[in-house]
C-alpha cells in the first residue's frame, strides 16, 4: 500500500474545510445565482468525508461503513442547526450570521471528538485513528448539510430561509440521507484488499455530484429556474467523475471482459 502515492489526510482536510466554507460563504452573494456554490462546497466536504470514512473503516468495520455515514450526518445536522441558530439568540447584530457555518464546524468537531473519545476509551474499540476520524467525519457532515441546504435555500440563514425552504417541505431528509449516502457509498463500494485512494476520491466526487443534481431538482421548487442550472451542472460534474472512476476501474481490475466463462484457479 505504501508504494502507491496517496494524497495526505491533512491536504484533503484542508481541501474539504476551505472548499466547503468558501462555497457556503459564497452562496448568498448574488441570490439566487450563487446558490450553486453551496453544492460545490458540499462536494469538497463529501470528498474529505469519504476519505475519513475510508481511514476509519479500513480497520475491518465492513458492515459498519453505512453506520459511520449515518452517525456523521447525525452529528453534522445537530451541529449545523446549533451553529446556524445560536447566534440569533446570542446577539442582535445582523452580521452575527456570518459566524454560523464556522460555529457549526467547530461544534461538529467537538461532538465528533467526544463520540470518538467514547468509542476509543469507554467502548474500547482500539482503533488508533478513531478520535481523529470521528472529528473529521462530523465536521465534514456539518459542512455537507449546510452546503447542500444552502444550494436549495439560496443562503444559510437558519430562521429566515432554511426552516421555510429546507425543513418544512422535507428537503432536509434528502439532504441528510442522500448526503450520508454520498459520503459512505465510496468506501462501501470500493471495499476490498486492493482498494485505492484515487478511485475512491473520484467516486466520492461522483456521488457528491449526484447529490448536487438531486438538490437541483429540489431547488426548482424553492428557487425556480436556478434549480435547473444546479441540476445541469450537477449532472455534468457527475458525468466527468463517473467517467474518471470507470477509467480507474479499467486500470485496477484484474480484467474487464465483455463476457466469458470463469477463469481456472487452483481451488
Amino acid at each position: 500500500m505504501s508504494d502507491i502515492k496517496e494524497i495526505s489526510p491533512e491536504n484533503l482536510a484542508a481541501f474539504g474545510i476551505i472548499g466547503g466554507l468558501l462555497g457556503i460563504y459564497l452562496s448568498p452573494l448574488f441570490p439566487p445565482y450563487t446558490s450553486i456554490f453551496g453544492a460545490l462546497g458540499a462536494i469538497c466536504a463529501v470528498i474529505w468525508g469519504a476519505e475519513a470514512v475510508r481511514r476509519v473503516a479500513k480497520y475491518g468495520l465492513g458492515t459498519g461503513v453505512p453506520s459511520i455515514g449515518q452517525i456523521a450526518m447525525g452529528m453534522g445536522i445537530i451541529a449545523a442547526m446549533f451553529g446556524l441558530a445560536i447566534m440569533k439568540s446570542v446577539t442582535k447584530d445582523p452580521r452575527a450570521i456570518y459566524a454560523g457555518p464556522v460555529l457549526a464546524l467547530v461544534t461538529a468537531s467537538i461532538i465528533g471528538f467526544v463520540i470518538g473519545w467514547f468509542a476509543q476509551n469507554v467502548i474500547k474499540m482500539k482503533i488508533p485513528v478513531m478520535v481523529r476520524c470521528m472529528t473529521e467525519i462530523a465536521a465534514s457532515g456539518a459542512l455537507i448539510i449546510i452546503g447542500y441546504s444552502a444550494a436549495v435555500a439560496g443562503n444559510y440563514d437558519f430562521m429566515g430561509s432554511l426552516i421555510l425552504k429546507v425543513f418544512d417541505n422535507g428537503v432536509i431528509l434528502a439532504v441528510f440521507w442522500v448526503g450520508a449516502m454520498a459520503m459512505l457509498h465510496p468506501f462501501n463500494a470500493c471495499l476490498g484488499p486492493d482498494e485505492k485512494q484515487k478511485r475512491l476520491l473520484y467516486l466520492a466526487a461522483s456521488t457528491g455530484a449526484i447529490t448536487m443534481a438531486v438538490m437541483g431538482i429540489a431547488a426548482i421548487m424553492t428557487l425556480g429556474p436556478m434549480g435547473v442550472v444546479t441540476l445541469v451542472i450537477g449532472v455534468i460534474l457527475w458525468l466527468i467523475f463517473y467517467k474518471k472512476f470507470w477509467d480507474e476501474v479499467y486500470k485496477d481490475a484484474a480484467s474487464v471482459v465483455g463476457t466469458g466463462l470463469i477463469p481456472k484457479t487452483e481451488a
Partner: protein, 300 residues
C-alpha cells in the same frame, strides 16, 4: 379529509396491498444484486479461489439504500406536485428518477468491489453489468412507486402532518429492514448453499463456498431472483403487508382509544406465541445442528 369506516378500511386495505407488493419486490431486488447478508458470501468467494459471475451490489445496507431511493422518489414527487402535476404522473416520474440514481449506485458498487479484488483475479464481466443493472432499476422502480404511493395516501388522504419525503424515507427504511431480515435468509442460506443439507447452518469452513453453477451453465443473478420469487420474496411481502395492516387496523376501527391499544397488545401476544410454535416445530423437524466432516477435521 375525514373518512367513514368503510372508506378508512378501503384505504387501509389498499395500503396493505401496496406494501405487500413493495416488500416482495424489494426482496427480489436485493437478490438480483446480492445485497445485504448474502453479499458477504459473494464478496468472500473470490478470496477462497472461487470466481463467479454474480453481481456484487454493495450500495450499502438495505434499509439505507432503500431509504435513499425512497427519499429521492418522495422529494421529486413533492417538487412535481408543487408544480401542479397530476399525483400519479408525479409519483411515476419521482420513482423513475429515484430508480435511475439507484441503478447508477449499483453499477459503481459492482465495478468498485470487483476492482478491489484484483489479487484474486476476479474479472469484471460487462455483460453481467449490462443485463443485471436494468433488472435492478426495474425492481427498484416498482418498490419506489409503491412506497411513494403509500406516502402520498398518508399525506393527502389520511392527512398525516408530515411531508411526503419524510414518510417515504420511513417506509424505505422499514421495507429495507424487513427485506433484509425476512427474505435474505432464503437467498443467503438456501440458494447460495443449495448443495448442502437443508438447515445445516453455515459453519466457518463453508464461508465463501457458494454455488456458482446453475442448472445449465453458470449461475447468474437473474437465476437467483427466479429462485427467490418462489418463497423469499412473497414471505417478505406478507411480512411488510401484515405489519402495515396490523399496525393501523386497531386504530382504524376503534380510533385512538385504550380498546385499540388492548387489541394491539393481543395481536402482539398471538404473534409471539405463533412465532414460538413455528420455532419449536422447525427445531423438531430439522434437529440440532450437526457438525460437518470438514469442521471435525479442522477442529482435530
Amino acid at each position: 379529509m375525514v373518512l367513514d369506516l368503510t372508506m378508512s378500511m378501503a384505504v387501509l386495505a389498499i395500503m396493505g396491498a401496496i406494501a405487500t407488493i413493495a416488500g416482495c419486490i424489494e426482496d427480489l431486488e436485493s437478490d438480483v444484486g446480492s445485497q445485504s447478508n448474502p453479499n458477504s458470501q459473494v464478496q468472500l468467494a473470490p478470496q477462497m479461489g472461487l470466481l463467479h459471475r454474480i453481481y456484487n451490489k454493495a450500495i450499502s445496507g438495505e434499509p439505507i439504500s432503500n431509504g435513499f431511493s425512497a427519499v429521492i422518489g418522495g422529494l421529486v414527487t413533492n417538487v412535481l406536485l408543487n408544480a401542479k402535476f397530476f399525483p400519479l404522473t408525479a409519483i411515476v416520474l419521482g420513482a423513475f428518477v429515484a430508480a435511475l440514481i439507484y441503478g447508477i449506485f449499483a453499477t459503481t458498487a459492482y465495478a468498485g468491489r470487483v476492482a478491489s479484488q484484483t489479487r484474486f483475479k476476479q474479472p469484471l464481466y460487462m455483460d453481467v453489468m449490462r443485463y443485471t443493472t436494468p433488472s435492478i432499476i426495474g425492481h427498484n422502480f416498482i418498490v419506489c412507486f409503491c412506497l411513494v404511493s403509500i406516502s402520498y395516501i398518508q399525506y393527502a388522504i389520511l392527512g398525516y402532518p408530515l411531508s411526503i419525503p419524510f414518510l417515504a424515507l420511513i417506509w424505505g427504511i422499514s421495507v429495507g429492514a424487513i427485506g433484509s431480515s425476512v427474505g435474505d435468509v432464503h437467498y443467503g442460506g438456501e440458494r447460495e448453499f443449495q448443495n448442502r443439507e437443508f438447515g445445516c447452518g453455515l459453519n466457518t469452513a463453508l464461508s465463501g463456498r457458494i454455488v456458482r453453477k446453475a442448472e445449465s451453465g453458470l449461475r447468474n443473478s437473474l437465476d437467483n431472483v427466479w429462485f427467490c420469487a418462489k418463497f423469499g420474496g412473497p414471505a417478505t411481502g406478507i411480512a411488510l403487508g401484515l405489519t402495515v395492516f396490523f399496525s393501523s387496523w386497531p386504530t382504524t376501527i376503534w380510533g385512538y382509544t385504550w380498546t385499540a391499544m388492548g387489541v394491539g397488545v393481543i395481536i402482539l401476544a398471538v404473534m409471539t406465541v405463533m412465532n414460538r410454535l413455528v420455532e419449536i416445530n422447525v427445531k423438531k423437524s430439522y434437529g440440532p445442528y450437526k457438525e460437518d466432516k470438514n469442521e471435525k477435521e479442522a477442529a482435530a
